[in-house]
């Protein structure tokens, strides 16, 4: 069993014993050093003072527009906190604070509970105090114990614009949220964290690093100057982010959407940068700053227009007639039609036992592909689509970025959907759908759903003949996205058709033309039928003058005809941008 003999030399014992004694001597010396040699110094610290450490919040980085104009800034407010180990008679303290500031004691109590970390650290009772409130507190100082004040930077917004869906908001971390935030556990209760929009996407750049202030505190809890040997650690402010937004264009479009629901996005297709981003209705960007009243919150939540929904990234809609360029490219590339081939539009189209209507009840007469896009004839597409396979159309749609996330620098984005055979079989059953579904798809109706942001990417592709860049809100260098492999002649034709849509006297996009010399505009209207009432009005367009190009994508929910409602907004935007009164706006 225990057979191995214990043959160990005595020198090993002496080696180990010597080591043990050596370690104990080192420890003893260290205690001697602290307790005897440095005794006076530590005595002084212990008897007269205790040390208090509080964190100094770091100002978040600013958010700037492309000209350097500040969109989101910080302003100083004050917070009042209590230190659990030092506070005597909490209730009495709360009453004094309440009397000086007008804040209800119940709120103070609730905050103490929410932000409590441990009894040595300041726990926030109230924030956003004004200088007035602070000075009244200061007067009542004698009645308070263990109460401290500190500065706290809050967000303040540019008054010209709202852009709340882009900028996003901050949220305060309380004990409930901490549980969900395990991944970034270096946050503490009471810290602000970007909770949506750019504030969330760029949280790590914006937040900066907190500092620490050490104070000596006397036996009555009064601060008695800095601590020797423990210099304060200054906070490291967050980095500013330079967006591609343009405050003046954003303001113009927000104004247009004051009484409308929908989205409008202006971008530079040569960079992918977004100049304006409107999702209406929205909310005031400072809604979440400071203490949001439960009344305000309920109003926003209960609003049936859903102002908290970011429609640009998270709303999905049928594209309607703006989809016709995808079908047009498929027809031309696969040589399913010639440019001369035409259809006679009577205003409706019989297909087996169903009647499909053109938007123009009187009919367009004899019409080829060019005029079918310019005048947005539906019947042409009902006829032409019958030679197209649904899977080929799905591939083409994805080539033009329908149903794919754009990977814009915002936290959430919907994918939309592009139906293919497998999808249709799953939805309707193997024999539950027929070619009739293709007729709907040909004019961007039916099962297809896209986000307005996908339509921005689509418009940028059309504007640049495929040579465009990923959409983004913060200035960055990106690789060009994969251009659809399409013959140059097809690009020429599609662009010609889009430009005729604007310039031809009966083109559906004619109301978007500001008629500025030298300005080339191409576009397409859409009027998407939907089960929620009036059709959604779409308009996409690009404009180019003196080598400066921008695109605009407009959607007005239940707005009616794209040509009549959405196109005029684009006209005013083009006027603002390319018109004579404005100064040079695009900088490379």
């Amino acid at each position: 069993m225990l057979k191995s003999a214990n043959t160990v030399s005595k020198s090993k014992f002496w080696f180990l014993a010597g080591f043990v004694i050596f370690v104990h001597l080192v420890l003893a010396y260290r205690f001697f050093q602290l307790q005897v040699l440095d005794h006076n110094e530590y005595s002084r610290r212990a008897e007269n003072n205790r040390i208090r450490a509080t964190s100094i919040p770091a100002p978040r980085g600013l958010i700037l527009d492309r000209h350097g104009e500040i969109i989101v800034d910080n302003y100083p407010t004050y917070i009042v906190s209590a230190i659990g180990a030092e506070i005597v008679e909490k209730e009495k303290n709360y009453k004094v604070i309440s009397a000086a500031t007008g804040i209800d004691t119940a709120i103070l109590k609730q905050n103490y509970k929410n932000y409590y970390r441990n009894r040595f650290l300041p726990t926030r009772l109230a924030k956003d105090l004004t200088i007035g409130q602070l000075s009244r507190l200061e007067e009542a100082k004698d009645e308070l114990t263990g109460i401290v004040y500190s500065q706290f930077p809050e967000r303040i917004f540019n008054s010209k614009i709202r852009a709340s869906h882009v900028l996003g908001y901050l949220k305060e971390i309380d004990q409930g949220m901490m549980v969900d935030m395990d991944e970034q556990s270096d946050y503490q209760y009471g810290d602000l964290v970007g909770w949506s929009g750019l504030e969330r996407q760029y949280e790590s750049q914006l937040r900066g690093e907190k500092g620490v202030a050490y104070y000596q505190v006397d036996a009555f809890g009064r601060e008695a100057g800095p601590v020797e040997g423990h210099d304060n650690i200054l906070p490291n402010p967050g980095n500013d982010i330079h967006t591609t937004l343009d405050v003046s264009i954003q303001a113009l479009l927000e104004n247009e959407f004051n009484d409308k629901k929908g989205t409008a996005i202006v971008s530079n297709p040569r960079t992918g940068g977004i100049l304006a981003y409107v999702s209406a209705p929205d909310y005031k960007p400072d809604l979440f700053t400071g203490m949001i009243s439960s009344k305000d919150w309920k109003t926003v939540i209960a609003d049936s227009n859903r102002p908290l929904l970011n429609r640009v990234t998270n709303g999905t809609y049928p594209p309607g007639s703006i989809y016709k360029m995808v079908v047009g490219v498929e027809l031309l590339e696969k040589q399913l039609v010639t440019t001369d081939w035409s259809v006679f539009c009577t205003g409706e189209y019989e297909f087996y036992d169903r009647t499909f209507r053109c938007w123009n009840e009187n009919g367009h007469g004899k019409i080829n592909l060019e005029q079918a896009i310019v005048q947005s004839c539906d019947v042409y597409f009902y006829q032409a689509i019958q030679n197209v396979d649904i899977n080929d159309l799905a591939i083409r749609s994805k080539q033009f970025l329908h149903g794919l996330i754009t990977a814009i620098d915002l936290p959430t984005e919907m994918k939309g959907r592009v139906p293919d055979r497998q999808f249709m079989n799953k939805l309707h059953g193997r024999y539950g759908w027929s070619k009739g579904a293709m007729l709907n798809l040909s004019i961007g109706q039916g099962e297809i759903l896209v986000t307005p942001l996908q339509m921005v990417a689509y418009t940028n592709l059309l504007a640049t003949r495929g040579k465009t860049y990923p959409l983004h809100l913060v200035q960055s260098q990106n690789e060009m996205i994969d251009a659809p492999a399409i013959r140059s002649r097809t690009w020429n034709r599609i662009q010609d058709y889009m430009e005729l849509t604007i310039t031809q006297s009966n083109g559906t996009g004619r109301w978007s033309n500001p008629k500025i010399p030298g300005l080339r505009i191409g576009g397409k209207t859409g009027t998407a039928e939907n089960p929620h009432g009036e059709p959604h009005a779409w308009f996409i367009a690009y404009g180019e003058k003196d080598d400066e190009m921008i695109t605009i994508t407009i959607l007005i929910e239940n707005g009616g005809s794209g040509g009549e409602v959405a196109a005029p907004i684009a006209k005013r935007m083009f006027q603002h941008y390319y018109g004579p009164k404005t100064t040079k706006l695009v900088s490379k």
Partner: protein, 408 residues
């Protein structure tokens, strides 16, 4: 049967118990002071510690009486169980941010990692005594490391860096005891140093020189020596690159695990308070129940990890010195018993257990005195803590059992 038990107890090295008793007394007096002055009504740390002494003593007697043969026979099985047990807390709830505890529905939790410490020691002792190992052969050193590393790795993920450290330390003196070449032990810890030294060009240059000298002096085969040398250098060079692929918050987490001082509101604050408490105690202390730092509650976890600061503040350097004398006597005595043990298995267990005590004492005192980063390790017999008290008493039982002079 009782006669046999009595015989066993009578022949155990009972003088150890006197030292253990004195250390316990220091701890209890301090815990009583904390409970009394802060007006904590029972159950407080003092009363709970008193209650834990009952099962602790019973387990100690059991460990003193259990047959050595049975321990030897079943230890591999026990090792298997303990590896599973340190895994179990991962399926339970997090307590205080870690997965150390098993909840049995009792009013207190159990930490299987405490038991794992000495189970690893006995497992290593059996492996090293069973196999007549050629300790000059480098490969023979690796299996013992594997035995210790498996549970250590699990504990490290709980995360409990202190306990993981304690689990690994016995391997080196135990290998040394059975005749491993110091050169081999050096090779095993070398990669760790290569990584640590890589943070700074100057230290890395010095380390590279030391490595070269040690390898040269050991006179290995040329290719072995060159391979080991450049392997280590390569590791040191590649590590910063791997490090940079981590995201900033991941880096910060790893760094805070190694050095909690990076969180100045947390651990850094504890060290300031602990040093102030110790230093203000002076030579003779402020007197029992008079510690201002203690009783103004500025010292965190004062009942367990930072109890040395309370002792130092209230009883001064003199008492800490007495405590260190008692500890060093205890450990040297256990090593002495190891030297005189009748067989290698017993000797190795004693060496391993002495190392565990030594590691606890060093880490706890050095941390309290601000010499090393904060690691939550309690002080044997002195600190409050149920699982650790049970484990420490069981280890003393093992020492009494395996350190007994066999007269037959």
């Amino acid at each position: 049967m009782f006669a046999e038990f009595w015989y066993k107890i009578k022949n155990s090295p009972l003088s150890l118990l006197l030292v253990v008793g004195l250390l316990l007394l220091i701890g209890l007096v301090t815990l009583y002071s904390i409970a009394q002055v802060q007006a904590q009504t029972p159950p407080n740390a003092f009363s709970k510690q008193m209650i834990f002494l009952i099962p602790a003593t019973i387990l100690m007697i059991f460990m003193t009486l259990v047959s050595k043969g049975l321990v030897h026979k079943y230890i591999y099985l026990g090792y298997g169980f303990i590896v599973l047990a340190v895994f179990i807390p991962f399926f339970g709830e997090k307590v205080a941010g870690t997965y150390r505890w098993i909840n049995l529905g009792l009013p207190f939790g159990l930490q299987p990692s405490e038991i794992a410490k000495w189970v690893i020691v006995i497992t290593l002792a059996r492996y090293l005594s069973d196999h007549n190992l050629q300790m000059n052969n480098f490969a023979s050193n690796l299996v013992p490391f594997a035995i210790a590393i498996l549970p250590t790795f699990i504990v490290l993920n709980q995360p409990d860096l202190g306990t993981a450290f304690v689990m690994m330390t016995p391997v080196i003196p135990m290998l040394f005891w059975v005749g491993a070449r110091p050169y081999h032990l050096f090779l095993i810890v070398a990669p760790l140093f290569s990584i640590l030294a890589a943070s700074n060009e100057f230290t890395f240059t010095i380390w590279a020189a030391i490595l070269a000298i040690v390898i040269y002096m050991a006179k290995p085969q040329l290719w072995h020596g060159v391979g080991i040398y450049f392997g280590n250098i390569f590791l040191g060079l590649i590590f910063p690159l791997m490090w940079n692929t981590l995201r900033p918050f991941q880096q910060k987490r790893v760094l805070t695990l190694i050095n909690p001082d990076l969180d100045p509101l947390g651990a850094g604050y504890q060290i300031i308070q602990s040093k102030t408490a110790l230093g203000s105690g002076g030579l003779f202390g402020k007197g029992w129940g008079q510690g201002t730092q203690t009783h103004l509650k500025f010292l965190p976890v004062q009942e367990s990890d930072f109890i040395v600061s309370v002792i130092g503040e209230e009883f001064g350097f003199v008492m800490l010195f007495i405590m260190l004398v008692l500890f060093s006597w205890l450990i040297v005595k256990i090593i002495k018993l190891g030297l005189n043990a009748s067989d290698r298995f017993s000797g190795l267990i004693l060496i391993g257990i002495s190392t565990i005590f030594m590691a606890h004492i060093f880490v706890n005192c050095a941390m309290t005195a601000g010499m090393i980063p904060v690691k939550g390790l309690p002080l044997p017999f002195v600190s409050y803590g149920g699982s650790f008290l049970l484990s420490s008493f069981m280890m003393i039982g093992l020492v009494l059992n395996f350190g007994r002079e066999e007269l037959d």
